[in-house]
Subunit: 227 residues, 2 copies
């Protein structure tokens, strides 16, 4: 029996994250985060989306294209556990898995059937980097996919940081991306929960280079520049 | 940029369904349905499962290995809509998709770290055929994956048939698979919701060939034989 199968990229994500840094660690954490799914030329067929508008949420199966490694490792250190504890790769959603597939539940905000680039899906809540290759789109079916009784293991809903943006920096941020930026920052984009209050972190989001510090649960934006 | 990626089979399912007929149309519909996930030799590493027992539910990303077609079609006719209405393939969980990937939420009943065939995952509620290739296993993370607010579109929870098994046939069914068989039959295994009350359908489950008829919401088992 064949042991390999080959996947074709059907679409790509357009999001406000040019790099991995700052992307929320799961989908759905920041609803204000908008993105667009653009089909690849062979898949620009509005018929393939007929009826999709009846669903409010979709599954995306996508590729960790920036996190590929030649070999997989049986254990990984999830950032959620401070980066010190090792867990089995199948007990995590780590990118470093035997098959580098990601799974995200996103909200479907709108369907644009005709655009110069073919049909577009307007999404929110996605945790995906700009350019992420998409392999499949499926409707979220509540009776099968929504399991309120599920045990969360170590993956408890993450706490939020309070976000402070000084008034003089607010006018550097386009109003239509302020809420999303606040949401992203509140998810604590620091790597591995570092705890140095003097360290200045930088994140690129929506064409802005945002610098911030974190102290005692409060994230303070220190500078905002055009990226 | 590369437009294809290749997946390796990491495991296979062992289930009571030798064929497609009778498999519930989504996972989770029949909790009594037990199955076992057996890793392929290169992936028989107990470390890769460390911590997985903290989760009650898992995602499986798997391959529609019996339903491959050379070409994908933009629209499909979901059995749920009687097989008459055409919907876009991305508005369905149909097997006939550009990339033949399936997605199922299953319950993790137990982890056996050491067996002659390496580590095993004992599962329930899976909607998978025996031998189904598995590409990825991920923990179900309630805060990201459970969306009670999601709109169900046409995919409402399916109704159930009442199941009648005559007493003289009951002793042909091993007691430990009776509940699962009842569950599977109650999901209405008929293709395309055919409505001929005289037609006898057959289904193979757990080594049994089960014949039945359906009339006015009641499924009557007519014969049970060793398959």
């Amino acid at each position: 029996m064949e042991s390999r199968t080959s996947l074709e990229i059907i679409a790509r994500m357009e999001s406000e994250f040019p790099g991995k840094f700052g992307i929320p660690r799961q989908s759905g954490l920041v609803e204000a985060l908008k993105s667009t799914l653009v089909f690849e030329p062979p898949f620009r067929n509005p018929d393939a989306l007929r009826g999709i508008e009846g669903f409010s949420h979709l599954w995306l199966i996508w590729g960790f294209h920036e996190a590929k490694r030649e070999h997989w490792s049986a254990t990984v250190r999830p950032p959620r556990l401070g980066g010190n504890e090792r867990l089995g790769v199948f007990a995590t959603r780590s990118p470093f898995r035997p098959n580098p597939l990601g799974l995200s539940c996103v909200k479907l905000e709108g369907v644009e059937l005709q655009s110069p680039r073919g049909p577009l899906l307007r999404l929110s809540g996605a945790d995906l980097m700009d350019g992420t290759p998409i392999y499949d789109i499926k409707p979220y079916i509540p009776y099968a996919d929504c399991r309120p009784e599920a045990a969360e293991g170590y993956a408890v809903r993450p706490g939020r940081l309070e976000v402070e943006i000084p008034p003089e920096l607010l006018n550097q941020i386009p109003p239509d991306c302020l809420e999303a930026l606040r949401g992203v920052l509140s998810c604590d984009p620091r790597p591995h929960y570092q705890a140095d209050p003097d360290r200045v972190y930088g994140m690129t989001f929506a064409g802005l280079e945002v610098k911030f510090t974190v102290e005692e649960g409060i994230l303070r934006v220190q500078a905002v520049e055009k990226a």
